[in-house]
Symmetry: C2
Subunit: 105 residues, 2 copies
DNA sequence: TTTATCAGGTTTGTATCACAAACTCATGTG
DNA sequence: CACATGAGTTTGTGATACAAACCTGATAAA
C-alpha cells in the first residue's frame, strides 16, 4: 500500500465498475436472481436500452457477467448471468463500502 | 415513487455528490474531524491539489461544506467544515447504500 | 410480394466530470 | 533583486454516462 509522507491511503480501493449506480443496480439484481433477460433488467433498473446495453458491455468486458444470446420462438433473447468473478467483485465491494461507511460510527 | 409498467425503481436514489469516491473520502474525514485544512485533506485523501480544490468547490456549491479562508501568520489557511446539510446528506447516503447492499442477504 | 410495424438491441453523438498540469499570487531567503 | 516555496485556482483533456438515432430480423397488412 502506498504511503504519502506518513499518511496512509484508505485501505481498500473502491471498484468503480461496481460503484457506478446503474451497474450496481444491475449487479444487485443479478446477484439474487442468477439470470435475467435484457427487458427484465431494463424495467428493474429503469435504464434506457442504450444505457443498459453499454453498461452490460462494460461488465462483460471486465468478465463480471456472462451474456448468452438465445432464440426463443425466433425472438432473440439475451440472458445475463453474474460470473464468479463478478460475484467476488461485488462481495468485496460490499465489504469495502460498508466498512468505509461504518468507520465513522 | 415512479413506476414503470408495474416495476418499481429501487427506493431511494443515490446522491452522486456524496457517491463519488474522492468526495466520499473528504466527507468521511470531515464527518469525524469536524474541521480540517486543505493540506491535511490533501494528504488524507491522497488527491492532487487541483482535484481536491474542484471537489471542494462542488461540495461548497451544494452547501455540503463551509469553506473559511483565514490567515495564520500571514499564511493563507483554508478550513473546511461539514455543514448540517452535508451531514444529513451523508447520513442519508450511508443509510441508503447500506440498505441497498444488505438487500441481497 | 412489397410495405409497414414492432421488438430487441447496438452504435453514435454529446454533455458532464474527474483529474493533473500549468498558472497565480503572496511570502520567505540568499 | 532573483529565486524558490507554499497554498490554492484555472485550464485542458481524456473518460464516461446517457439517450437519440440507427439496425436487424420477425410478424402483419395490403
Amino acid at each position: 500500500m502506498t504511503k504519502i509522507r506518513g499518511y496512509e491511503l484508505t485501505g481498500e480501493e473502491i471498484d468503480k465498475l461496481v460503484h457506478e449506480p446503474a451497474r450496481l443496480k444491475i449487479i444487485l439484481y443479478l446477484y439474487t436472481v442468477e439470470s435475467a433477460d435484457f427487458v427484465y433488467l431494463m424495467h428493474k433498473t429503469s435504464l434506457s436500452k442504450g444505457n443498459l446495453s453499454s453498461h452490460l458491455s462494460k461488465l462483460e468486458e471486465a468478465g463480471y457477467i456472462d451474456i448468452e444470446k438465445k432464440f426463443v420462438d425466433k425472438i432473440p433473447r439475451t440472458m445475463m448471468t453474474l460470473s464468479d468473478k463478478g460475484k467476488h467483485a461485488f462481495e468485496k465491494y460490499k465489504e469495502t463500502l460498508i466498512t468505509l461507511l461504518r468507520s465513522v460510527d
